[in-house]
């Protein structure tokens, strides 16, 4: 649901909804670039169809319907089989709706980011640098492996271990849902 004090077509609303929407589409596609493209599509379509939105109703739910239509077209065009169907898609929708509500609480968001910042400092420098190149700079595992003279498998293992350590650390610091 959108904050009633926010213009649903304003930049603030876009930014507020972008995070959970991107996570929703990333979870469904497993493709970061595709998720980004689909987010753009969702906002573009939402804006084009803004006359069909009934003010006061669930804006986030409306975006999720558009997102699901975009996903359907995405899988048709790429000829990939959708990973999430039926109950799994409903569970994903529920998770996205819960995240949407959580993200309305700036204190929760900032506490989690703060914990993440702290926990990132607890992994080794090398792991941190690999994470930075991989996710901060958006480089592929192959590119990271090349720059560190490692194998792709070793990069992925390092990322896995770092992620587990960070997730464990964040869980210690804040209530963090069901992640790792």
């Amino acid at each position: 649901m959108a904050d009633p004090g926010i213009d649903p077509w304003g930049l603030a609303a876009v930014e507020q909804n972008r995070h959970w929407l991107t996570a929703f589409l990333l979870a469904a596609t497993g493709d970061r670039a595709a998720a980004e493209d689909l987010v753009q599509d969702v906002f573009r379509i939402a804006y084009e169809k803004r006359d069909t939105f009934v003010p006061g109703t669930n804006f986030g739910g409306w975006l999720r319907v558009i997102a699901q239509n975009c996903l359907k077209r995405h899988f048709e065009s790429t000829r990939r089989k959708p990973l999430l169907v039926g109950d799994a898609m409903r569970a994903l929708e529920t998770a996205a709706a819960q995240a949407e509500v959580r993200l309305l609480d700036p204190a929760w968001s900032s506490a989690r980011l703060e914990a993440l910042r702290d926990c990132l400092g607890e992994v080794s420098r090398r792991a941190r640098e690999i994470l930075r190149l991989r996710f901060g700079d958006g480089r592929s595992a192959e590119q990271v492996a090349a720059s560190f003279g490692m194998t792709v498998g070793a990069v992925n293992v390092t990322v896995h271990r770092a992620r587990r350590a960070i997730a464990e650390c964040v869980r210690r610091k804040v209530k963090y849902g069901t992640t790792g």
């Binding site: 996570a23 979870a27 799994a88 994903l92 995240a99 910042r117 930075r132 587990r164």
Partner: protein, 589 residues
Amino acid sequence: MERPDDADLDLIWRHVSGGREPGDEEALARLLARHPGRAADLFALAEERLALERILREPGPVRVARRRSSPPSARYGPRVAVAAAALLLAALLAWYRGAAPGRGSGSGRPPGDLPVAVEDASSPAADPMGAAAEPYPRPVTLAPHQVSPRAAREEAHAAEGLVQHVRSEIPAPAAAARDLELSQPAPSDQDAHVPASTDSTGARASRSPAFSTSPARAPTTDVVAVLAACQGDVFILSDGARTRARAGDRLLTGQGVETGDAPARVDVAFQDEMRVVLGASTRIQDRARSGETVRTLDVRYGMVQAEISPRVSGHPLLINTPQGEARILGTVLRLVVDPEPDGLLQLMVLTGKVRLARKSDGRWVDVHAGQYAEVHPGPDALRSRRVATVSFQDGVAPTARYEGTRDTTLAEYREGARRNFGAGSSVWADGDTADMNQPGLDKSALVRWDLSAVPRNAKVVWAEIDVSVVNDCGGRPFGIYAMRRAWDEMQATWLSPQAGAVWEKPGAQGETDRASFLLGALAPATTGPCGTFLTRAGLDAVQAWISNPATNHGLILADSENGDALGFKSREAAPPCERPRLTVSFIAR
């Protein structure tokens, strides 16, 4: 709710982090069919990845965890902590007044000087790159309140014209390259004034005051270099910020240059003294020091090839790395630098002479033309050795009888997929254009050299590839990958490496067909000669080819998304000097 086990979470993480492995998609589908509720974990980890991205893109250093032991105040009581703090403060004040002349009475900077933050180039704290704290590249982005370095440079240029004399401008890139032609090495008697002795390893080594510190000079904002050519991700580093650089950008005193992963590369033409080519994942920093008599260039890590003209003044150029320092009066050299102080520094001198000193103990060694030296913490670490360089080019080198090159093109287009191009006078790499109505135009170039002339126990320290380009790709790079599978020059096609066999994936795109990491890249913007030196991964690959010739399946140039075709002369082309050439430098082990 049932908690997922680590294997499930790893599977989910691979899905959202782009690290899927074969079979993951089916495994994930099975997991979700069995436990639809795991979709919530899928969302949570996707969200986690996005949060990580956000944190990792923030400017400024990551907060590194402190030791988890309780603080002194908790362990020893408040009074002890206060006393320790007072002692520390007193010691700092004493150092500030006594050990740093000129600091006690103000800033120590003439009133007319530019307000540049660097005060003591020899202290880690003054190091604008913060090497002591973080040897790896930092994710530096501009915060909204920061002035962009480009704007700062423009302001600096304006200030130059108003408040200080303008030094002669760097010539345009082409002229800079011409002006920086390799010059003769420094006179051979330069080491006569430095005491030398022979150490237990037989090397000429001595103690040297190479690391004595001298009062630093606040750097000015002079233009010191121009980026003559850029390829891939190249950044100019300035006061903790980094901006994407392009060919023609200028480098001011105190600024640095950083390259991203392969195929990144930049050619930096310094004013009147040197030309430096940075390979992928490399960082250098210009550093003003000791008046104007010594210029210091920090090479933090990576691969560097430098051509340094003899210093007109006779004052050396210092190349400073985490492990050691090289004093140069005029030379052509190559450096491979690990980021850690206890890592490996490799130096190869092509012309002239370099004095290489180890930071940990101040020992030094003179490395002459054609020699190689390493710095690392182990014994036998500082010794110059003869380096051998051998080129492999059909009809030219190592001898005119050499015919060990094999090359061909794999072409995807319908009638070509089953056709062999081994006898062609050129080889090609190409990708699909953006026009999705015309897919299937990929081409990949296969090249292999017989390296059996190099002794199997040789240690490879440098490798370069040179080709003669007949069709340039507009500066857009084609990656170079090691082949993992044997292929026959006169039989290989898009579908098959040799008669009776097929590639794992057409075009040798499978994991068993070729390695997935880059050995380097070729990105010619013009036709004619074009060369590149290989990355560390490339050196490892060449090393493997030499140590175990059975693994030498050559390399492939490919990029399925680069629609600007690259064509270069093959081993069948004339004249022979335009055929593909691999040059390997090695030392005996």
